[in-house]
Subunit: 96 residues, 2 copies
């Protein structure tokens, strides 16, 4: 599955920045960090449940917000970018 | 079209916060702000071109990043949420 995970966390506090770093590190195991708190993730249902479980242990459920959207197949390529945003190649795209 | 727009902007500066406010106001004309810089947008191709044009006049193209993903039909309902995130009803969902 191609997924888009967005994380809303207060980065004005050291604790918030620490949680963002931890979530980013986790998500980068499954895909790419395309913005400070937006991640393109490739995962099957089992990976996703594991990821959700791991994230659950990091975030502050009383203040943070995580949203995980399912994209259509090829959804990472079908994105309009503006400013410094760029299309980014996922690992599987690089296989010859 | 159901779209997801994510905006990466440095909110540690007053100028960045001002741009975020302006982009948010624009996007809220087409949908919902579901996180500080994530917007669920319903737009046809004409609306989208207008929105892109308007955003282009607000953002700093040398530092800000905008990504606009196309979601599958019903993609706003097919989202996993964690923490304080919630499913949010779009206007068209409320029509009886």
């Amino acid at each position: 599955m191609d997924l888009l995970l967005t994380y809303d966390v207060d980065t004005t506090t050291p604790e918030g920045r620490r949680r963002l770093r931890k979530v980013a590190k986790l998500c980068e195991g499954y895909g790419l960090r395309v913005q400070k708190s937006v991640f393109e993730i490739v995962a099957d249902e089992v990976d996703l449940l594991q990821l959700i479980d791991d994230i659950d242990n990091i975030i502050d459920a009383d203040s943070d917000s995580i949203r995980i959207y399912r994209l259509p197949h090829g959804g990472f390529e079908n994105v309009r970018t503006m400013g410094v945003a760029q299309l980014q190649a996922h690992r599987q795209d690089l296989v010859l």
